[in-house]
């Protein structure tokens, strides 16, 4: 009485479940559309979401670094490709949850963060960018594939703003004793 492995149907079902598990969550809507014209309304709306969409993250990054957000989502994606935030072949579905990887890469590029030896040698790849921002404690030990909450995105961009404007550090350990 030997062990019988799963049949073709079983393997197929398993593969399907694995694919479904790896797929990113699609959100019902983005906050960019619902927040109205006021920038502060947009930030308030982003603060309430449990996972930011690609469109929200892209718009927030463009606002933070004072880059023209363009007229629509396609223009924003084109700008992201132009500035090297994502690769040419990458697609960023508008309502898909944003990966921490490309957000971290964009922050490192725009804030001029060079990182450690690996990042200097291989460039601002997503993995190294996330590691660098985790090391700086701009991120709460996230991985490149994880999604971010709205408040985490606001906090990350706040740290980037402080870094760019030369505001005093907010890390308690870095304060003078």
């Amino acid at each position: 009485m030997g062990f019988k492995g799963p049949g073709a149907g079983g393997w197929g079902l398993g593969a399907l479940l694995l694919l479904a598990a790896c797929a990113r969550t699609q959100l019902a809507e983005t906050e960019v559309a619902g927040a109205g014209k006021d920038e502060l309304d947009f930030w308030d709306a982003v603060a309430t979401v449990r996972a930011v969409s690609n469109h929200d993250a892209l718009y927030a990054l463009l606002l933070t670094y004072e880059i023209d957000p363009g007229a629509d989502y396609a223009a924003r994606v084109a700008m992201a490709k132009k500035r090297g935030w994502i690769r040419e072949k990458d697609t960023l579905p508008e309502k898909e949850t944003a990966r921490t990887g490309w957000i971290a890469k964009a922050v490192c590029i725009e804030s001029g963060i060079k990182g450690g030896v690996t990042m200097r040698v291989f460039g601002a790849r997503e993995r190294y960018a996330v590691n660098e921002l985790n090391y700086r404690r701009w991120l709460p030990d996230l991985t490149p594939q994880q999604a971010m909450t709205g408040l985490q995105l606001i906090a990350l961009l706040g740290e980037a703003e402080d870094d760019n404007t030369g505001a005093p550090t907010t890390n308690p350990e870095d304060l003078p004793k």
Partner: protein
């Protein structure tokens, strides 16, 4: 005859002093009962900053010299800052990307009572000694700070959680922090305390029951026990849900002998 005259003089002076004593006592009692509602005034605005008095009102841009009533909610955008004089004893510097509410600014008898609710962002606070008892508390989604005349910076964000820093000039145990998970900390001089993890359930409880955005209360409303705003620093006691005062730190911070 001389002895009688002295006795009469003494009796007269005692009788003359009695009404004066009564008046002093009455004045003190009246002063203790008196509740004044104060306001905040905008000293400086940089960048984009807006306020509204309750959740249904529209956001309005903040202007210099604008008077804000208790219950006001303030929000700032990127590269923005607002400086406020709050009541008789405090100055608030609200930094970039901050959401903050000031539900209570009152003088209750001899106590200057101010409550600030920081939703996220960061703010610097200076509480001056003005000859009254300072009862200044700041609540964040992770903790409540009780402050006696001092200066400090408080921050809350989703990555680092709650962080509070004193300034070097602070006295011993000038800031007392009570985290929502019932851990207490006291800061002296430029000490720092932080709590990385927020407690969303307790924060929601605060939001629901304390209702910091409810707005100003008139002195008449404050007299009514049912309408008395819940003490942010001592919520369980003021709602009667907790028997006895277990919040040692907060009580100490409010006592006049520690001023």
């Amino acid at each position: 005859m001389m002895r009688l005259a002295i006795l009469l003089l003494m009796a007269t002076s005692v009788v003359a002093q009695q009404p004066a004593k009564k008046t002093d006592a009455e004045t003190k009692t009246a002063e203790k009962k008196e509740v004044k509602v104060f306001e905040a005034i905008v000293l400086k605005v940089a960048g984009k900053a807006q306020s509204r008095i309750d959740r249904k009102a529209k956001w309005q841009p903040l202007k210099i010299n604008q008077v804000l009533k208790p219950g006001v909610v303030i929000r700032t955008g990127r590269k923005s800052m607002v400086a406020l004089r709050v009541g008789a004893n405090a100055t608030l510097l609200i930094d970039r990307q901050t959401r903050i509410a000031i539900p209570t600014i009152i003088q209750d008898g001899d106590t200057l009572k101010t409550r600030v609710s920081l939703k996220w962002g960061r703010t610097e606070v200076k509480v001056n000694k003005v000859g009254r008892v300072n009862d200044f508390a700041v609540s964040t989604p992770s903790a409540t700070l009780a402050v006696r005349g001092t200066a400090f910076r408080i921050m809350w964000d989703a990555i680092h959680g709650h962080r509070a820093h004193g300034v070097p000039g602070n006295r011993l145990r000038a800031i007392e922090v009570e985290y929502l998970r019932k851990v207490e900390a006291a800061l002296s001089s430029s000490d720092t305390t932080s709590e990385r993890f927020p407690l969303p359930a307790l924060d929601a409880w605060y939001e629901t029951y304390i209702e910091p955005l409810k707005g100003a209360f008139t002195p008449a409303e404050l007299e009514d026990e049912r309408l008395r705003p819940i003490d942010v620093a001592n919520p369980l006691d003021s709602t009667g849900l907790r028997a006895g005062n277990q919040q040692r730190g907060t009580k100490q911070a409010n006592s006049p002998d520690r001023q």
